[in-house]
Point group: C2
Chain length 194, copies 2
Amino acid sequence: MTRNGDSNDMPEITILGIVGSIRDDSYNLALMDEAKKLMPAGAHIETFDRLDEIPPFDEDLEEQGYPEPVRALNDAIASADALLVVTPEYNYSMPGVLKNALDWASRPGGQSPLEGKPTGLMGASQGMGGTARAQLALRDVFVYTKTPVLPGPEVLVANAAEQFDEAGQLKSDETKKFVGDLLERLVEAAREAA
Amino acid sequence: MTRNGDSNDMPEITILGIVGSIRDDSYNLALMDEAKKLMPAGAHIETFDRLDEIPPFDEDLEEQGYPEPVRALNDAIASADALLVVTPEYNYSMPGVLKNALDWASRPGGQSPLEGKPTGLMGASQGMGGTARAQLALRDVFVYTKTPVLPGPEVLVANAAEQFDEAGQLKSDETKKFVGDLLERLVEAAREAA
């Protein structure tokens, strides 16, 4: 599309947010909430909050038809302009729950809604790594699905217990700037892909 | 323990087999069945067949107590002398279903039954890679859990449709030899760790 510098003329961008943890009091959920506040004008985040309903991926089940939560996930990805995955790191990798959802979303082969979808990654962890390994592992998966993941900025929120205040808000302006930069680039990539 | 060369004096070794795919007609299930036949004397494989019953890992659920299938998994790992993971590759990584089971088995931190458990990896795929990337991804996870994974032989059964006959048996003596070599080394590692 042509950009003319007037944001009012540009169509609203919808980013689908997926949080890799399903616990209620998750730092990554708090980070997603921060991202919603830091979104550039003309774009907003809608989250898919039903990862816990996605059944274990099973080709036998797939042959019987996609379960409803899987159809909802695939539809949400397909209709979004971009993806934002905000995930904890479990055992030096992504949560199995998140990978299971991506296994479903990668199907059927050749028709996955993940193909070509601009994607950004963020994560918060209580340790020092800030989910760096989980994000690298996710990048491998997204190579297979032909999903263009933004190279950066890497948003790695380490020592999460110290990074968020009691209201679940990010304390550091520098961290907020990283989040905001990633979101700007993601919206830009979504506009270019649209 | 002291080895005196007389296998009758050595305690029977139990290897817990976990298949990463939950479909019924899986090449990896067939590969596990072949492994059972190729086991050295004095050792046998028992499989954990309930991956589809393991709920999505959730710290909120964990705080309420481990669900029964998770306790069964952790008990099976704890009471086995070694692990054998036979898994397909999904999207350049391990299946989410398998990772989710490992996320539970990695808990509680510091008391995981995976710590110190000798482990072997095998996999079959219909493509050319033979699950090489899934196995590398698993090795990363097992670094975190302090699980000693055998460095080799790498058992990568590529082009699986051609590797198994109609009865689901491996056709190639060379592939069987790789499987047998891995099992021998795994039993040896289990005896050393016992």
